[in-house]
Symmetry: C2
Subunit: 441 residues, 2 copies
């Protein structure tokens, strides 16, 4: 049995690998390819050979032989002895050009680049298809946590209705810390930057761009439809206040930045919604317990029910684990024939606009401290058929507040209501508005 052998199948030529980028992830991938060569060979059925590592500048402090380093990525990826290209550069335009060129030359590609995929999956999947090679990207969503493969393979015979994820570690670290310490956003962000949990320019994370890329990838796969980052409704966490977390606690909730991908069925017609925003999440929901830099993705499918995948969503080592899994599978396909699942977009569902989405809302109002305010506020909700689940009156005088929690209604009805409240004479200010997700009505 070939499976017993630690060596390769007889006469099996090595599989050549080119790695683009030698940052945290790239360096770890290179280390594993070199250190675990024997195990990898046994798993693949052929030795995995590193042909080169493309870097911006060749330095001698990288701990790998100088002759493996090159600044000419384009030359490296088209070499005849390269079978698989691993792209871990980051950015969009350069990796797009290189990944495209690699696929066009018949190389399989493994990438961890969510921004690239959320924009150009269509183009890249078609290039992979034309050359019948693999395009794998498990590492692009939720780091080491297997999410892409379970969705495309394990649930291939099921019907996914909803994907709900905490897919950005930076924002989850900040929101968890705000929840624990009671500190405000700016202060917590500064601490996160200091500790290395947030980048010096945290915009991509805190404004939800990173999560939106991942939502686009998850929605595309879950619903067999091409969804790009531009299709994803997006709000960041920079407006979340310590007061929001206090109110959340009073409602037995916490606040999480969620990536939500949903099948919306209206009048027998299926559409897809992909959106990212901070939301109240009930404490008893499995996602409420996902704290710090951890990620988790909940998948709700028709036959399987609710599944959850949990683990480290970022970091060089966890991301490298996901890249290596893809690399081994792509290499196995080269040795044994076959390919992984291709892009599936047969369903081609329309994207539902945010206004059609049905959620619950929490609205925090600073109000005049006088009789009749509640009645005036309640009337605005009633006018738009938005049913109120609970009202709390807090404070008095200038600090008088109303906290309103609604039942489910369309986002349009809810945002129209909020706009109208903002115009009411008795309402001084709408201080915050958050959606509530993960509760049973």
């Amino acid at each position: 049995m070939t499976t017993e052998a630690v060596t390769s199948e007889p006469g099996q030529r090595p599989i050549g690998v080119a790695v683009l980028g030698h940052g945290t992830v790239g360096a770890e991938v290179v280390r594993i390819i070199r250190d675990d060569a024997t195990d990898l060979e046994a798993r693949i059925g052929a030795p995995l050979e590193l042909r080169g590592v493309a870097v911006r500048t060749v330095r001698d402090d990288r701990g790998i032989p100088q002759d493996l380093l090159t600044t000419d990525a384009e030359d490296l990826i088209t070499r005849d002895d390269v079978d698989i290209v691993v792209e871990v550069i980051g950015g969009i335009e350069l990796p797009r050009k290189l990944v495209r060129a690699a696929l066009d030359s018949g190389k399989s590609v493994v990438t961890a680049n969510k921004a690239l995929l959320a924009e150009y999956t269509g183009e890249l999947a078609e290039a992979a298809e034309a050359k019948r090679v693999d395009l794998y990207f498990e590492a692009a969503v939720a780091g080491a946590i297997p999410v892409i493969r379970p969705l495309t393979q394990s649930l291939a015979g099921d019907k996914v209705n909803r994907v709900l994820g905490i897919v950005n570690g930076t924002t989850n670290y900040i929101l968890s810390a705000m929840d624990e310490t009671g500190a405000d956003y700016a202060e917590t962000l500064a601490e996160a930057v200091r500790l290395g949990y947030a980048e010096a320019d945290p915009t991509a994370d805190v404004e939800g761009f990173d999560a939106a890329s991942k939502a686009a990838i998850l929605a595309s796969i879950a619903f067999h439809t091409r969804v790009t980052a531009g299709d994803v409704y997006r709000e960041g966490i920079s407006k979340i206040t310590a007061a929001d977390l206090t109110t959340a606690r009073a409602l037995n909730c916490t606040v999480k930045l969620l990536a939500i991908c949903e099948r919306i069925t209206t009048d027998g017609r299926d559409r897809v919604s992909a959106r990212v925003y901070p939301a109240l999440v009930p404490r008893e929901h499995p996602l409420a317990a996902v704290n710090g830099a951890f990620n988790a993705v909940v998948v709700e499918a028709e036959a399987s029910g609710r599944l959850m995948f949990y683990g480290q969503g970022a970091g060089g080592s966890p991301t490298a684990s996901a890249v290596m899994g893809d690399l081994v599978m792509a290499a196995r396909n080269r040795v044994h024939g076959g390919r992984g699942p291709r892009e599936s977009r047969y369903a081609d569902l329309e994207i539902a606009p945010m206004s059609d989405i049905v959620t619950r809302y929490y609205v925090n109002l600073q109000v005049a401290d006088r009789a009749g305010v509640l009645s005036a506020v309640a009337a605005e909700f009633a006018k738009r058929d938005v049913s109120i689940a609970a009202v709390r009156q807090e404070g008095a005088g200038e600090g008088a507040r109303l906290v309103v929690l609604t039942h489910c209604a369309t986002d349009k009805a809810l945002s129209d209501t909020v706009a109208a409240l903002d115009q009411l004479e008795s309402v001084i200010a709408v201080t915050s508005v958050l959606r509530l997700e993960g509760s049973a009505e």
Copy 2:
């Protein structure tokens, strides 16, 4: 692009499926194949056609055309127009014969049968290998929760050190209920049987046989080594008392039946341990929150860190979801070429005996209420180099008790200590002994 089409690739012949068994899972698989034909065809690239369902007795109340039913399974699986056989009969000897015959005739096989696999993976994997067909069994462990595919594919480039799972819903339901209500084992089991969470003869579940089968499968895959059910150390939950759960609560723990698969490294030599027993689990461990009939599997790998997979581990519909995922992947392989990963046992690690395993212990003793007891008890631990982490003295007179929690030590040192304690004059009885898992030393 073929991926755009809802129809099959041009000229693609249908993929024929035979289903063996029409119980809860089989009926749901048949329903999905018939109801979701269009979606399945788009995902596979060819129509999936049901050739027949093998049953013990042909009845007309099964809701499927009579001419699809047959009592001649052997004839059905060898038909030329059958490509894939789904085995959901249960039992061992009959499915072994049928699965073997199907593989020998060049059919790919999807099975949910953990008992079969835990015993005969070797034989069946070799038969699949000889004919170069797929043998898939995602449904055999933890129902709908993708565990096999993440381990064999997503973590194919990582090194797994530990798998820790709650993989039996019946025992988890019973232990969760005991924890919540304070009721004793016998009472809770009776209630579980009444509610349908336990079978009339619950032996396979409560004595850990079912979990041991799953542990064997998980260990085989995680460590690239053949592990059978007989290699798994096994204790059931029938001796767990209400008092154990009370003490667990006092120690900020709960009690879970765990399937543990571990890489044991001693003097630079790797061995494998696979074991099933009820253990104390600290409340802050992710598995402590997995309640009722839910399952969860924690995987600890070198690069990925700790991952958790959570969901419904049993039931017709979740199990059918896992079977359908395998069926679609096996069908895709027939259409597009290629095969899933084969049995990998290149590591061929030795099984470590239970006596070599290092864990923590909790020992509950009924003792004589007099001076010097603690000293005598502590001496027995010290003699065998077992370090005590905490001691609690409870009650007085005939109800006097000592609860001892140890640091890590080998199972042999711990069980020798327990045996010696049982002989001490001042110890009336060792009332219970449980291991503590999932704590940091």
